[in-house]
């Protein structure tokens, strides 16, 4: 029997059961009818209420019949059962419920609701939600979580939740991939538990997993994951709270996919009351900070001939490289290559964004609603980038009776993103020769409006280089996303407050389209090439169906005992199809669609399509028992089946257990009056991870141009990657919870780690294989401190602080795994890393830079005592590089490296430890000051401490190795014997002047003032005057200042992508992170 049909059958059975029981009840009671009359009035001014509802309900609060009151507030209703109850309600008034008890006349006074402003129903105890369905008081939670409320992030200019999360929660690391609108983010919870494959956490929205990943076999032409930022496009204003599940006991409940942590997002829902309308608006402006100073055209054209000359003494051939000829007799080149262009300035502008959101919420006894519509528009700081998004959401709750409830949530997102055709545009602009003109000059020296896009010049041709402005303005990369997520839930209570069941089904329809066009204007290449007027169109359609069936059992136990148990059965079925077209050479720059006549002939241009499917099922049993509110224990086990595994390894089981001891509840602690809460928590759990690609357990064949050939090998040995987590936590609350400290210490061990492209000998015909390769540990601690040091009538000052540390260590690894990062330390620009079992990641090695050989005498090799080394024939020996393999003799002006072993030869024996790129501590802190509940000033700082970063920008802008533009630092380069400087000579494509050395390694510890917000809530007096329920105004600035010794542009480099134990962090940013100012206004009616 198929699992899905099994579930649907259960579903139908239950519906039938419910309907059946309902009808029988009605059938029995349809006999005797009594008429009841009465009047409904307002309690305060005693006026009649017109249109109030009078409803007969049965014992389960199910609606039986109802009438409305007339102009005078009078009503008459025929009720079917005198044992039933009767309710009187009107919008804006408290509902009155009375038993009928044979009474025939009711005169009712309804009391107006005193406070209708509350957006969220405030319950006595906040519940934590691990998303599965169990409702546990936050104070009884046995697991490690942290929660962020909507208020905490609403002031930020974030266009999506992941941006808002950055730095707010301990143990959660959010990294940007780029500052352009629509760029995606990477979220890491407690470090990365997997070597590669998916490292993003599972996101659960309103109890259902939310797909945030593009299937790996989705081919979107030129698009990549960056383009799929709309995957997490829930408008931030729709969010009620975000909870991060961190320890394995909590994530184990989500089984597969939960190894990277779980993010639980709950959206706002309706509440009883008059319709409350809230309007949020934000405007922001962003500026790209000034870049590091680069050479002008004049300085550049002095450098390049010198650099080429230094290679082998032959001058730059200006007859073929007319860019440097400066020959007035060749006016075209003379005018076009004698400029001082600022390419960066040309492609940079101010960025703006506006974000509008209107929501309405309200409801009555039976139905509640929350609906919102949002519009977000952003233009980026790079010319040609922008984002437009429309979101709509409606959350409906309908109570049929106290036993049956329906929920319907529908979310719709429409995103249009404009990216640059080529994502390297900013990099190319930095490297672009500044003596080249942006717009073309004609042969008389007149500036024309045409972009100057030569087919090639000394810097090369497309795609190594191009005219960045032309590419930004006329290249097209247009992405369109449509996502609709309807979610239906039926809740049925078998035994009131004892046994409840919920049935969920969620459809997720996610369609994307990417259109790109590369015009000849931008590349300048001849029209025969495929990089000219190249048009692509890619469609991807995804459909995901998820079901969840929960049974929650909560028996009534004796005083002091509490018990809750959950059985949950879940299934997921994802299908995706994609179509891609890439053609070239449409007849004109304006024919931008591949449907225009164009070429598709060789392998560079494609018509392709793909289809893929992925299924999983899971069953979970979880239970929590509490005794005397002091001893709490939670156990769970989850079984998962997944279509990505072969029959041998298809199922995984993930147990978990956790407990909490509330020491402060013990009688012997009663004397410590100041203590509100002191608990110890401990947890243990397993969670799993599945491989990234479908069908990998088949040996597949792929059709090629001519025939068919094997495309991948059968992976019979692929097993679940399992994370085993242990967590010890403690919660402390003192002085009426004005000081709260949560601390966690954890050890996560990932067993059978996946490695996607494990290197194997290429004589197998393959170069990589996916395998379970070893064991890795993520150990660390997290401390969260929330304090309110001052709280008076007018003033509240709060201070929050979090700190965390995570260490990645490999415990064992396949012998196939490379033992070094494979770089040749004797090549420029790279550092060596080694695989060290048992040592934390992130250390790198290289040479020590000692300056520049100032003259020929300085290049003579010297031994440890400083005396010159004499060769066998009595000659003086020059310092050599990598003898005998390379045997380069150092020349005056070359970079000087420390000859650690004093053998006159700089080689791998001279490399030393240079640093470690993993921070010792990271975290954030933020003070906030509130005056009279009206004015609130808050700031947020983030920091990283104790790590060394490689300043890649410095390396690339001072290496003088190729025709890329360089920074003005190279003006101090060595030029003549005797020059004393730290900047080596320019040397085209040869020499060893920029080997991986401590010249580029810097301490990158920093504290960054990430945001400052000033918020003003309008006084009730003012609100009354304008009939507002609430109104506030705020200003936020982001990235105001960074305190650091680091001389590069951005010390906050997080390692995106694979978690490679052999990689090291490099900062290649050319500008500091963008600064922005945001104005926002919230009005409630």
């Amino acid at each position: 029997m198929r699992m899905k049909s099994f579930l649907t059958r259960i579903f139908y059975c239950l519906i039938a059961l419910v309907l059946l029981s309902g009808t029988t009840v009605m059938a029995q009671q349809a006999k005797e009818k009594i008429t009841i009359r009465g009047k409904v009035i307002d309690k305060t001014d005693r006026t009649p209420i017109y249109g109030g509802s009078v409803v007969e309900r049965d014992q389960d609060m199910r609606y039986v019949t109802g009438v409305a009151t007339d102009l005078n507030g009078n009503f008459a209703i025929k009720i079917s059962n005198p044992k039933n109850i009767i309710s009187f309600s009107y919008i804006g008034y408290k509902t009155v419920i009375l038993p009928v008890n044979g009474q025939a006349n009711f005169n009712i006074e309804l009391e107006p609701l005193s406070n209708q402003l509350g957006e969220v129903v405030i319950s006595a105890n906040t519940k934590t939600n691990n998303g599965t369905g169990l409702n546990i008081d936050a104070r009884s939670s046995t697991i490690a979580t942290s929660t962020l409320k909507a208020e905490d992030v609403q002031d930020l200019g974030a266009s999506s939740i992941d941006q808002a999360l950055a730095g707010r929660l301990s143990g959660v690391d959010v990294g940007t991939t780029s500052g352009d609108p629509g760029a995606g983010m990477s979220i890491r919870i407690r470090g990365t538990a997997s070597l590669n494959g998916s490292s993003n956490p599972l996101i659960v929205v309103d109890g259902m997993p939310y797909e945030t990943q593009i299937p790996s076999d989705f081919n979107f032409g030129t698009a990549d994951e960056q383009g799929y930022a709309q995957l997490l496009n829930i408008a931030p204003t729709d969010i009620m709270d975000i909870t991060v599940l961190k320890d394995a006991a909590s994530t184990a409940l989500w089984g597969s996919r939960a190894a990277n942590g779980v993010l639980i997002i709950n959206t706002k829902r309706g509440s009883i009351g008059k319709p409350a309308i809230t309007y949020n608006v934000k405007f922001s402006g962003a500026k790209q900070p000034n870049s590091i100073p680069m050479l002008t055209g004049d300085q550049y054209s002095t450098l390049i001939p010198e650099m080429v000359m230094n290679r082998d003494g032959l001058p730059l051939d200006i007859t073929t490289n007319k860019e440097f000829a400066y020959d007035p007799n060749d006016p075209l080149n003379y005018y076009n290559y004698s400029r001082n262009s600022d390419w960066i300035d040309a492609i940079t502008k101010l960025g703006y964004s506006q974000d509008h959101n209107i929501s309405m919420q309200g409801g009555g006894e039976k139905a509640r609603y929350y609906a919102s519509v949002g519009y977000f528009n952003q233009t980026g700081t790079t010319v040609g980038t922008g984002l437009n998004r429309i979101t709509a959401k409606i959350n409906l709750d309908y109570n049929v009776s106290s036993r049956i409830r329906f929920r319907t949530d529908i979310t719709y997102t429409h995103v249009v993103t404009d990216f640059n055709y080529n994502k390297t545009i900013r990099g190319v602009a930095y490297n672009k020769m500044p003596n080249m003109s942006i717009y073309q000059y004609d042969e008389y020296g007149n500036l024309t409006p045409n972009y100057f896009s030569p087919a090639q010049n000394i810097q090369g041709q497309y795609d190594a280089t191009f005219n960045p402005l032309a590419m930004a303005l006329v290249g097209v990369n247009h992405q369109l996303g449509e996502r609709i997520t309807p979610h239906f839930q039926l809740q049925y209570t078998f035994i009131p407050s004892v046994l409840t069941a919920t049935f969920d089904v969620q459809y997720d329809i996610n369609n994307s389209k990417t259109q790109t066009f590369l015009p000849q204007l931008a590349t300048g290449r001849p029209t025969t090439e495929t990089s000219v007027n190249r048009a692509t169109d890619a469609d991807g359609d995804g459909l995901n169906i998820q079901t969840k069936t929960n049974f929650i059992y909560q028996p009534k136990l004796k005083e002091g005992h509490s018990f809750q148990a959950l059985l949950s059965i879940q299934s997921s079925d994802s299908r995706s199809i994609s179509h891609n077209v890439a053609t070239a050479n449409t007849a004109s720059d304006v024919l931008q669609d591949p449907s225009n006549p164009s070429r598709t002939q060789n392998s560079d241009l494609t018509l392709s399509s793909g289809a893929s499917q992925y299924r999983s099922v899971g069953a979970l049993i979880s239970a929590q028992y509490g005794y005397l509110d002091r001893y709490l224990i939670n156990v769970g086990i989850r079984g998962d089946g997944n279509s990505r595994f072969g029959p041998n390894n298809r199922y995984g089981f993930f147990p978990s257990a956790s407990g909490r001891w509330r020491i402060s509840g013990e009688p012997f602690m009663k004397k410590f009056k100041f203590l509100d809460e002191l608990s110890l928590r401990a947890s243990y759990g397993h969670s799993g991870n599945v491989p990234g690609s479908n069908y990998s357990f088949y040996n597949t064949y792929q059709p090629g141009i001519w025939g068919v050939y094997p495309s991948n090998m059968e992976l019979t040995n692929l097993r679940w990657e399992t994370l085993i987590g242990k967590n010890l936590g403690f919660n402390l609350g003192i002085l009426k919870n004005r000081v709260k400290i949560d601390a966690e210490i954890y050890q996560n061990t990932t067993k059978d780690m996946f490695y996607n492209n494990l290197q194997i000998s290429s004589f197998t015909g393959f170069t990589g294989v996916s395998m379970n390769v070893g064991t890795m540990d993520n150990d660390g601690f997290e401390i969260n401190i929330n304090t309110i040091p001052i709280k008076t009538k007018n003033w509240t000052i709060g201070f929050d602080f979090n700190i965390s540390k995570n260490i990645n260590t490999l415990r064992s690894i396949s012998e196939f795994y490379p033992k070094t990062n494979g770089t040749k330390i004797t090549s420029n620009g790279v550092y060596q890393t080694f695989l060290q079992i048992g040592n934390p990641f992130g250390s790198y090695y290289g040479f020590r830079f000692k300056g520049v050989y100032k003259d020929a005498d300085a290049t003579i090799a010297r031994d440890a005592s400083g005396t010159e080394i004499i060769g066998p024939n009595g000659q003086k020996v020059q310092m050599r590089f990598n003898y005998p393999a390379t045997n380069y003799l150092f020349q005056p002006g070359d970079a000087m490296y420390e000859d650690v072993n004093h053998d006159g030869n700089i080689d791998y024996k001279d490399i030393v430890y240079l640093g470690n790129g993993i921070p010792k501590l990271t975290g954030g802190f933020g003070p906030s000051v509130t005056y009279k509940n009206n004015l609130k000033l808050s700031a947020f700082f983030s920091y990283r401490w104790g790590y060394q970063l490689i300043n890649g920008t410095k390396m690339n802008t001072t290496n003088m190795y190729n025709f890329n533009n360089q920074s003005t630092a190279v003006l101090g380069r060595w030029r003549n014997p005797g020059d004393i400087t730290n900047m080596p000579r320019a040397l085209y494509n040869s020499g060893y002047n920029w080997l991986g050395s401590d010249r580029y390694v810097e301490d990158a510890s920093f504290i960054r003032l990430r945001s400052v917000t000033l918020r003003y809530n309008f006084t009730p007096k003012f609100l009354e005057k304008f009939k507002f329920k609430a109104a506030s105004f705020y200003v936020t600035t982001e990235n105001l200042f960074t305190w650091t010794k680091y001389t590069g542009q951005d010390p906050d480099v997080s390692s995106g992508g694979d978690n490679n134990p052999l990689s090291y962090n490099v900062d290649n940013s050319m500008t500091p992170p963008g600064k922005s100012v945001l104005f926002g206004l919230t009005v409630g009616f």
């Binding site: 025969t528 088949y698 001519w706 025939g707 094997p710 000998s761 004589f763 012998e815």
Partner: protein, 498 residues
């Protein structure tokens, strides 16, 4: 007790999951073919054999670089990569990506896959007979032999992988086999292939682009010549000659005028009457040469000696040209490698979309010159010189390149043959192997031949360094790429690079 009940519930769930959901979780790719559904018909086998041929397209740039970069025919440009320069300057390191053998072994794996699974189709397809199977196996074993022959000549000792990698259970750590073992395997594959391969596939592209019996004979001749087995070389050559399927395209029309279509026929169009085996590039599959030879950022040009010393110029009559020289192999003006770059014998270059010159593996002239070389070493020097003259006459070789070696001196005759081969097969990936074969013959009796060539081309400041390296004959084989050494514990680096 509660625990027990839980386990029971769990167990029943496990049973339910495994039985009822297993089917639901069993998904097959919708847009690919899995092995279990393949190998059912002769069409499947045929498609897989064609896949092996198609994979040859990925090997071409390796074949070119391995065969030419250490020879004396290539010149550098500003865009020659540092790795290419390293090899030219004798700075050969195992980290150099030029030493990667991946595409070669990929083709070998495709061939092994056919060898392992094609027999399955015999049971499911009644129209697929043993002879059809043998013909398929003959082709893939010939291709495998060809690939191992390239590896043998480039690396010396390599691991012999004779089973396909179809599953992660098939992954092995092989050690290197000796040169003898590799050579014997090549000979064995070719012997089987020769016995079972068809002589024709019924169309011209098939006959020139697939392993016919004659292509296999040509490969045999080459292999035996490398193995200094001259009798078998002559036998193999004679089989091709006796087939009467091939002939030389003359550089002269019957009336004595220059055949202006010679370049077009032999190189631009390819598949000429003198062609035996060529990689069939076409407008849908482009060769890798556009970026290497044609575009403005080309990596290679011909060396300065090609016109001056290899073809020479007739100073009295500039119309009197070796037909293989200017605007055939090379463009004298800017040293462009015209054989793959030229769109005609006038001045036009191929463009990025028309860069589909074939890769010429064997032409009939090769058969004649291989036979000549074998004859020279079996005391038939005059017969050898006669064959060389056939080649020279048809190509209008210039008197400047004429040598009159003593027919009884095998060494002198061979040096002459080598010079002719250099003219005939310029840039066809044969020069270095010719030099090496000639130098290593009879236990490196003629090492000075290789050294003198390398002395001529070495940059002046690196001459001593390079010659000293090449004096150690172990340096004539490339190192095994560091990647392979790291991924296979049993693989030992070639001795010179340890």
């Amino acid at each position: 007790m509660i625990q027990k009940i839980k386990y029971l519930i769990l167990l029943s769930f496990a049973v339910m999951l495994t039985t009822s959901c297993n089917k639901w979780l069993e998904l097959k790719p919708q847009d690919g073919i899995i092995r279990q559904d393949f190998w059912k018909t002769k069409e499947d086998v045929n498609a897989a054999v064609l896949g092996c041929y198609a994979s040859l397209f990925n090997t071409t740039s390796s074949l070119f670089i391995w065969g030419e970069i250490r020879g004396d025919m290539l010149g550098t440009t500003l865009k020659t990569t540092s790795e290419q320069l390293d090899i030219i300057n004798g700075n050969i390191l195992s980290s150099n990506s030029i030493t990667k053998w991946n595409p070669i072994y990929q083709t070998i794996n495709y061939c092994n896959t056919v060898i392992d699974f094609a027999p399955l189709a015999l049971t499911t397809d009644q129209t697929f007979k043993q002879a059809d199977l043998n013909a398929a196996l003959a082709q893939v074993r010939a291709l495998r032999a060809y690939m191992y022959f390239e590896l043998l000549r480039t690396f010396g000792e390599v691991p012999l992988k004779l089973k396909s990698t179809s599953s992660d259970a098939d992954l092995v750590q092989l050690a290197k086999n000796t040169k003898k073992e590799v050579y014997d395997q090549i000979v064995a594959d070719l012997t089987f292939a020769e016995a079972n391969a068809p002589t024709t596939y019924g169309d011209r592209i098939g006959d020139k682009g697939k392993m016919t019996r004659y292509a296999i004979n040509s490969l045999q001749a080459d292999v035996y010549l490398w193995g200094e087995d001259y009798a078998n070389t002559i036998t193999a050559c004679n089989k091709v000659i006796a087939s009467n399927q091939f002939g030389l395209i003359s550089g002269k029309n019957p009336d004595g005028s220059v055949n202006t279509q010679w370049f077009n026929t032999v190189f631009y169009n390819g598949n000429s009457n003198e062609s035996i085996f060529e990689f069939q590039y076409s407008s849908s599959v482009l060769n890798p040469f556009y970026n290497m030879f044609i575009s403005s950022s080309k990596q290679f040009a011909g060396s300065a000696i090609v016109m001056d010393q290899v073809y020479t110029v007739d100073l009295l009559d500039d119309q009197n040209k070796d037909i293989r020289g200017d605007l055939s192999s090379i463009k004298a003006g800017d040293l462009t490698i015209w054989k793959f770059a030229g769109a005609d014998n006038v001045k036009n270059l191929r463009t990025s979309t028309t860069s589909y010159a074939h890769w010429f593996v064997y032409r009939y002239s090769d058969i004649l010159l291989m036979k000549a070389e074998a004859l020279a070493w079996t005391q038939k020097g005059q017969d050898a010189l006669d064959l060389v003259n056939v080649i020279r006459t048809r190509a209008n070789a210039l008197p400047g390149t004429l040598m009159n070696p003593d027919p009884t001196s095998a060494v002198d005759v061979t040096d002459y043959i080598m010079a002719e081969r250099q003219r005939e097969f310029a840039f066809e990936g044969k020069r270095w192997f010719d030099i090496l074969r000639n130098a290593k013959r009879n236990n490196y009796a003629h090492l000075d031949y290789l050294l003198s060539i390398e002395t001529d081309i070495a940059p002046s400041d690196k001459q001593t360094f390079i010659i000293n390296k090449y004096k150690d004959v172990r340096s004539h084989y490339l190192p095994i790429n560091i990647y392979e050494i790291q991924t296979d514990k049993n693989l030992i680096q070639n001795p010179f690079y340890q």
